[in-house]
């Protein structure tokens, strides 16, 4: 029972001095506030939504326990699956384009071959500081034929471009807004990761006669794999959560965007227009689980590749 020794032995035991044990709990003093608020705004709602999903509110009989009925309903819900398909398509197209552009710009900045590098970096990052509301309104106006750029181009050149807010194109238009907002942010993550690759590696490659392209594929990309995986995961989570842009554009394109356009929009409508809180919580949980599974698979695959 050496741990019960009185603090007199303080300086004697360099491996684990008793004052360290006494201090063991002081870490909680610093992290405690964070954990307390975290429990209130993260863990409690999470537990509450699981609880809600097990009940159903009926006109007759009030709230009753229904077990997994809500989940069965969600899995057979065509509106939910249509919304999920839409964000999956969005993810499959928009995320690679956005991350591809971000990576190209980061590599260009890192190559040291640009004039005015700092201006480039800050300019491309700036849209990140623009709220989704403002970005969506701005692009929405520009898309519009009334006083937007598309209308101007049509009038000026005598052409008729397809309407970006039509049902066929609105998803691509939303993808463009999201790309515009987040290219700079992802670019910065890649660029920061590239900055810390040791220069000696490049020099060694140059001595071996490797060209720029070879340096990029053999050294730079493997070196920032961690950053690539993290950016991909955050983008996947972001795509599955898509809400702000369609919700704001909805007023400008009411025919193209329905209130069940994305899974999140659907849960929002269920809850706040339909008052179906229990079912809404269920859909949110199903969506959360799907998101986590996809993010986890990407993480496993991303880390395994070439590791």
């Amino acid at each position: 029972m050496t741990t019960l020794q009185p603090p007199v032995a303080a300086g004697r035991r360099p491996s684990r001095p008793p004052w360290r044990r006494a201090r063991a709990w002081t870490g909680w003093g610093f992290i405690g506030p964070f954990v307390a608020v975290f429990a209130l705004v993260f863990l409690a709602p999470l537990a509450y939504s699981v609880y809600l999903s097990l009940f159903r509110d009926r006109l007759i009989g009030g709230t009753t326990f229904v077990g997994l009925d809500n989940y069965q309903q969600a899995l057979k819900d065509d509106q939910f699956w249509a919304a999920l398909e839409r964000v999956a398509l969005f993810l499959a197209v928009q995320v690679p384009i956005m991350l591809g552009i971000a990576l190209l710009v980061a590599l260009a900045l890192d190559s040291g071959r640009l004039y005015g590098k700092d201006f480039f970096r800050i300019s491309i990052f700036l849209p990140y500081a623009v709220p989704a509301v403002v970005a969506s309104l701005m692009w929405g106006f520009m898309y519009g034929s009334r006083f937007g750029l598309v209308g101007d181009i049509n009038d000026g050149l005598g052409v008729s471009l397809p309407d970006p807010l039509s049902p066929d194109l609105v998803l691509a238009s939303i993808g463009n807004i999201v790309t515009w907002e987040f290219v700079g942010y992802n670019m910065l993550i890649f660029y920061s990761a590239l900055r810390v690759v040791p220069h000696s590696l490049y020099e060694a490659a140059q001595i071996d006669g490797a060209g720029q392209w070879r340096v990029i594929t053999a050294i730079k990309l493997p070196a920032i794999r961690g950053a690539l995986v993290i950016a991909t995961i955050f983008s996947i989570i972001g795509s599955f959560q898509l809400f702000n842009e369609p919700a704001i554009l909805q007023k400008l394109a009411p025919n193209a965007i329905t209130t069940d356009y994305t899974p999140n929009y659907y849960t929002y409508s269920l809850s706040f227009s339909g008052q179906q809180h229990n079912y809404s919580a269920t859909v949110a949980i199903v969506m959360g689980v799907i998101t986590m599974i996809v993010a986890y698979v990407v993480q496993l695959r991303g880390m395994r590749k070439g590791a």
């Binding site: 201090r23 063991a24 709990w25 002081t26 870490g27 909680w28 610093f30 992290i31 506030p33 964070f34 608020v37 975290f38 705004v41 993260f42 709602p45 999470l46 509450y48 809600l52 040291g112 071959r113 640009l114 004039y115 480039f120 491309i124 700036l126 990140y128 500081a129 623009v130 989704a132 509301v133 403002v134 309104l137 701005m138 106006f141 009334r146 006083f147 937007g148 750029l149 101007d152 993550i189 920061s192 900055r195 810390v196 220069h199 020099e203 961690g226 989570i237 959560q241 809400f243 849960t267 929002y268 809850s271 706040f272 809404s280 919580a281 949110a284 969506m287 959360g288 998101t291 986590m292």
Partner: protein, 313 residues
């Protein structure tokens, strides 16, 4: 392969050749690591700069137009009459100056919400980096796991909880959820590990400083660059927040700017509502100017802070 002894005895031998290296390498380093600048690459990257800046330019130009001018003139050039100042004053006075109220609300949410989030993240990151307390690993795993939970999945239950507590339609409904930034905690954890030498903390303790004093007088100054980074990102998150206020607030008196602009925009499509697109556009410009200014002025900090975050992963 060559020296398992070198890897087991860790940092010290590793730093030795490192300090010697620059001297050896300095003369021939200049030539290969200074590639020639390329006009072609600059122009190609310039395309993306245009993509990023043209919409902001459109916003700036459109803010100088009257509502009729918006519809009647080319989007990327000025209209005959320059109405920017009229638009700004009308934005601030329309509907009895409700825009000012929204601006003050936003500031309140940012100062208390983002400021509080940063403070909690700094405290927590410092604890994770510098203290070996019971449950440390568990706390970290739960918080990192929470990053993957879609925050909007929590929105409905949070709303129901808050409405039972009578907190909806009050500033608390916005501030309390804004206080948690898992990303900020992670960034501060990484940053504090590097920035605060444990020896310095020990020295302060031996000099008789209490834990709080050690934190505030020794650690906090060293954590400043990381703190500014986290503050900037939590500020952006709070300033730009739309979903949370949308579900929590019914009373326009508590709206932040984002929700207010959205309401003005929707006004045009409601029956009998007055279209005020010039005010929506000017208000949007007023909304983004402070954030863009903050990012431009504080570049040095957030760049070094983000770099620290990417080293670790």
């Amino acid at each position: 392969m060559t020296g398992p002894t070198a890897t087991t005895t860790a940092p010290r031998p590793a730093t030795k050749p490192h300090t010697a290296a620059p001297r050896l390498r300095a003369p021939r380093r200049q030539a290969p690591s200074r590639p020639r600048r390329s006009v072609l690459l600059t122009v190609l990257t310039g395309v993306f700069v245009l993509y990023s800046l043209v919409p902001l330019l459109w916003l700036l130009i459109s803010a100088t137009k009257t509502q009729e001018g918006l519809a009647g003139s080319f989007g990327l050039w000025f209209d005959g009459d320059f109405a920017l100042w009229d638009n700004i004053s009308e934005t601030f006075t329309y509907q009895d100056g409700v825009f000012v109220r929204w601006l003050l609300n936003t500031l309140l949410y940012v100062v208390v919400g983002a400021g509080g989030a940063t403070f909690l993240a700094v405290l927590g990151g410092y604890a994770l980096a510098k203290f070996d307390f019971p449950g440390r690993r568990g706390v970290f795993a739960v918080v990192i796991g929470a990053v993957a939970v879609p925050t909007t999945a929590l929105a409905v239950p949070t709303f129901l909880m808050f409405s039972k507590l009578g907190l909806t339609d009050t500033p608390w409904a916005i501030i309390v959820p804004s206080l948690i930034s898992p990303f900020g905690l992670y960034l501060m954890w990484v940053f504090a590990t590097e920035a605060v030498p444990t020896e310095l903390m020990e020295a302060a303790r031996i000099d008789g400083a209490g834990e709080l004093r050690t934190f505030f007088q020794v650690a906090l100054p060293l954590l400043a660059p990381g703190t500014v980074t986290v503050l900037l990102f939590t500020t952006v998150a709070t300033w730009n927040n739309y979903f949370l206020p949308l579900i929590m607030l019914k009373d326009p008196d508590w709206y932040p700017l984002t929700l207010g602009l959205d309401a003005w925009n929707k006004q045009a499509s409601t029956a009998g509502g007055e279209a005020v697109f010039n005010l929506v556009i000017t208000g949007s410009l007023v909304t983004i100017v402070p954030l863009i200014a903050a990012f431009l002025l504080l570049q040095k900090y957030w760049r070094s802070g983000l770099a620290a975050g990417s080293v670790k992963e």
